[in-house]
């Protein structure tokens, strides 16, 4: 090597080694002073005359390097994906406590395997300063955002609760008036019912309050939809939405707000109010912008946020204007995230999001891009696609990783996701359409039953997901009373404890015939129409029960009560009214609730159940084992019966886990003085196993299918 080059390398603070045939490192430049100096401090000095160093020698002086040399060897021996591999910065300290920052690289030069170690201390201070300030800022922001989110969500939920309890809106004035968050309560058509001073301040509209009166909600939706095209779909479905976006005040000054919109529904499940809470983030954004990419990342998931996503996809499209490359956008939405958030709290919800972000990131290939749009929504931009059909396989792989158990509050739970995928040629990409199409496909996946992957097709435009149509039909069905009841006997396994039936609702659809609950209860629960449907079921079941009593048949009738019904402030009054009007004895009524009834407010649900039982009504816990089952809380619940979920019965008696769970539940319930009902019993083997393990009642096709009341009354007593 020429002396000029040698001198240059030395001046740059670099030491260069060549991997010799005997697997030693041969120095091809003279050693810089820092290397000699540091190796002395490490009690394993390297001498200026040591031209050849073994891996062990260099590892003794620099333990960090012995680790990197493994990566270097792999790089040198394999097909190269990249032209070099580097160690990242590490710090060494000399005998006087002076720190040196070093970085190593393995590379090829003229087919020689080269190890280069560079002293990067000179520029390190500047780099450190940037990181230091960025992390100081991140710490501060973490604290501010945490406090802001907490305050905003609490205010939102306080107002929603106040309105859902049918309290007068005027009573909110005192809470809202002096609040630093902007508040707007409006009717579904946008007509304003309440707003506060903070809203006026954000929009600097002085005494001219026309802007507020002229549907602020419409203005916000129009501004938000640019970056949040899914806002229409979410609000239309009656769900909560929150997000950040640019807004403009009366003088057209640009601002940045964080807005949450929550619908409040009436007894018929229709939206009667929108509660909107906003905070001005303009100052916070301005400071963040000074630090570039901090404001482009989500603090919880550490992923690029919606703002960064738009930057990225715009750049991708610009750079590929002349390309015929196909890109795909995956829209990933976690299923039932709100339920988990409600049950385990916001911190656990945030942890879940962070965990899912990490899992998704680890399962995409190098060059793909993932962002957290907000809430429970993620997008993944996939490039270099060989076969579009492969995308579904990628989506299914992501579903598997999402569904691995996660530990929340000591309880392992599984979550699922729905994924929509849209593809396009990069040169023809309109980012907004691409996101909208992926969102439509994702929504369609939800309609298909969640936990699925769906590709966008033009067919989805022509026949959008049926939910809104089905929601409307449900409202008509409630009005026209298109529901009917069937009854399924529960057969006693021990000495006779009386006759029992479960009342099951069916929808007599004018076009599609008799629909089972699986085809409409999910939509009814999400739209809120489950409350009026449940009210109808309760009344009809009690009227039917009274007919049985009057005919001398003292059958106990079990009625399913949804979580929304149970948590309704008027539930207890409605129940007593139904008993009074129908004349059905409370001691013959049983209500079946699921674990989801305890998700939002366990203490309140327990309190209601105590009052219900005091009337003489019995309580059964349905689908036990299928959801967030926790044996810890079972002893607290005022229930008389536990119904083992049919999924465990289905696999009896062959499946070890189902056997273990079933016998444990029976044993535990008996210890807690509860009776056990096994549902979904379809064959003799299942029955024998359950009988052998002392189950109290069985229900299923093995004995009886659900039947109309007339057929039930004709059954001979000795048969069940």
């Amino acid at each position: 090597m020429s002396k000029v080059l040698q001198d240059l390398i030395k001046q740059l603070g670099i030491v260069v080694f060549r991997l010799a045939d005997d697997q030693t490192l041969e120095s091809v430049s003279s050693y810089p002073e820092w290397l000699i100096h540091l190796s002395k401090a490490a009690d394993s000095p390297i001498s200026v005359d040591d031209t050849f160093l073994s891996f062990d020698q260099i590892g003794h002086s620099f333990p960090f390097l012995s680790n990197f040399l493994i990566d270097a060897e792999l790089f040198w021996s394999n097909e190269r994906e990249h032209d070099k591999t580097d160690s990242g910065v590490w710090t060494e300290v000399d005998a006087l406590g002076q720190e040196y920052q070093l970085e190593a690289r393995a590379l090829f030069a003229e087919n020689e395997k080269i190890l280069l170690i560079e002293n990067v201390s000179q520029n390190f201070e500047e780099r450190h300063l940037v990181y230091q300030k960025a992390r100081d800022m991140a710490l501060l922001n973490e604290k501010l955002i945490s406090e802001l989110n907490f305050r905003q969500r609490k205010l939102q939920s306080d107002i929603e609760r106040h309105l859902s309890l049918r309290n007068p809106i005027d009573e909110l004035n005192r809470t809202v008036e002096s609040n630093t968050s902007a508040v707007l309560v409006c009717l579904p058509d946008g007509d304003v019912e309440l707003y506060n001073k903070a809203l006026i301040n954000i929009y600097e509209i002085g005494n001219d309050q026309k802007i507020v009166r002229a549907s602020m909600l419409d203005k916000w939706i129009a501004e938000a939809e640019h970056n949040h095209p899914e806002i229409h779909r979410i609000l239309k479905s009656g769900s909560y939405w929150e997000g950040e976006f640019e807004t403009f005040d009366a003088d057209n000054n640009q601002k940045w707000i964080r807005l949450s919109i929550g619908p409040v529904k009436n007894d018929a499940g229709e939206i009667c109010h929108f509660v909107c809470v906003a905070n001005d983030l303009s100052d916070f954004r301005k400071v963040s912008d000074d630090w570039g990419n901090i404001s482009d990342y989500d603090f919880n998931t550490h992923l690029p946020n919606r703002r960064q996503f738009w930057k990225h996809i715009s750049q991708t499209c610009e750079s590929g204007q002349k390309s015929d490359e196909v890109i795909a956008l995956m829209y990933v939405d976690l299923d039932y995230f709100k339920h988990i958030n409600d049950q385990h709290g916001q911190f656990a919800g945030d942890f879940l999001l962070g965990t899912m972000a990490s899992r998704l990131s680890r399962n995409i290939k190098h060059g793909d891009y993932i962002a957290h749009l907000g809430g429970d929504e993620f997008v993944i931009l996939l490039r270099y696609i060989k076969e579009p059909e492969d995308l579904v396989a990628v989506g299914e792989r992501l579903l598997v990783t999402v569904s691995e158990p996660i530990n929340l509050d000591g309880t392992p739970i599984r979550v699922s996701a729905s994924i929509g995928i849209a593809t396009t040629e990069i040169s023809q990409t309109d980012p907004h359409s691409l996101l909208r199409n992926a969102d439509l496909a994702m929504y369609s996946a939800k309609e298909l039953g969640r936990g699925q992957v769906r590709l966008y097709t033009e067919e989805l435009e022509r026949n959008p997901p049926k939910r809104s149509q089905r929601e409307h039909e449900l409202l008509v069905a409630i009005e026209k009373q298109q529901f009917v009841l069937e009854f399924q006997p529960q057969v006693c396994m021990q000495e006779s404890r009386g006759k029992r039936v479960e009342a099951l609702v069916r929808w007599q659809h004018p076009e599609h015939g008799l629909l089972s609950p699986a085809e409409f209860v999910g939509i009814a629960e999400e739209s809120g129409s489950i409350v009026p449907i449940g009210d109808w079921v309760l009344m009809s079941a009690c009227v039917s029960g009274k007919l049985l009593v009057d005919s001398g048949d003292s059958t106990c009738v079990a009625v399913n009560i949804s979580a929304k019904q149970l948590s309704h402030p008027e539930f207890y009054n409605k129940l007593t009214n139904v008993l009074r009007k129908s004349g059905f004895p409370a001691t013959h009524l049983e209500i079946e609730i699921t674990e989801s009834s305890f998700l939002s407010d366990m203490d309140k649900a327990i309190d209601v159940l105590h009052r219900v039982r005091a009337l003489g009504i019995q309580v059964a816990l349905d689908d036990f084992g299928s959801g967030f089952s926790s044996l810890n809380y079972l002893k607290r619940l005022p229930v008389d019966y536990i119904k083992i979920d049919r999924s465990f019965i289905h696999d009896l008696p062959d499946d070890n886990e189902s056997r273990a769970i079933t016998t444990s539940v029976i044993h535990l319930a008996h210890q807690l003085n509860m009776k056990v009902i096994a549902e979904g019993v379809e064959n003799k083997q299942q029955l024998e196993f359950l009988r052998e393990h002392d189950v109290d009642f069985v229900q299923g096709f093995y004995y009886f299918k659900p039947m109309p009341l007339a057929k039930l009354t004709s059954l001979k007593s000795e048969n069940w």
């Binding site: 710090t91 960025a134 992390r135």
Partner: protein, 172 residues
């Protein structure tokens, strides 16, 4: 003398460097000085059975700029997983970091340090959460790099666990 590599892993600004400084040099500074990359320190530990040289890999915290490089964990005999007991965001990251560590180092002893225990008024790690972690067989020690509380105990616990792991491998 046994030589063991120990990795200090955790979110940014939880006090990993301060814990190492407290343990190795018995000093503490209130000033937050962020770590970039890795810094390796050594500390000799006297155990009842023998001496152990701990090579402490103080690894840059995980944040929006930096992921945990899996290659840094290679060959580690023990891991100190550090969280800040006053910051819920770091407490929430614990399980996933633990899974990440476990995916590379299945049998390696891990000790969880809930640091900044001196900030009692701001402490967010609930007794319930701590109990659950311990019930799941994890070693959790509340530490304060500032006062030194729990620090020696934590490193001694990890050293003992590494020694047991070493003995069991030898026996096999």
């Amino acid at each position: 003398m046994l030589v063991k590599k120990v990795c200090m892993v955790g979110p940014f600004a939880v006090g990993k460097t301060s814990l190492v400084k407290r343990f190795v040099e018995s000093i503490f500074s209130d000033k937050y000085h962020t770590t970039i990359g890795v810094k390796v320190s050594k500390k000799k530990v006297e155990l009842a059975q023998e001496s152990m040289q701990m090579m402490l890999w103080d690894i840059e915290g995980v944040d929006v700029f930096t992921e945990l490089k899996s290659s840094y964990l290679r060959g580690a005999s023990g891991v100190m997983l550090v969280i800040d007991g006053t910051r819920p965001t770091t407490i929430r990251q614990l399980n996933e970091l633990l899974s990440l560590v476990r995916s590379y180092l299945q049998e390696t002893p891990v000790v969880i340090l809930a640091n900044k225990f001196d900030l009692t008024n701001e402490w967010k790690l609930s007794q319930d959460d701590a109990t659950k972690l311990r019930e799941n067989g994890l070693t959790l020690i509340e530490t304060s790099a500032k006062t030194g509380a729990g620090v020696e105990e934590a490193f001694a616990a990890l050293a003992q666990a590494m020694l047991r792991e070493c003995d069991s491998k030898t026996a096999e």
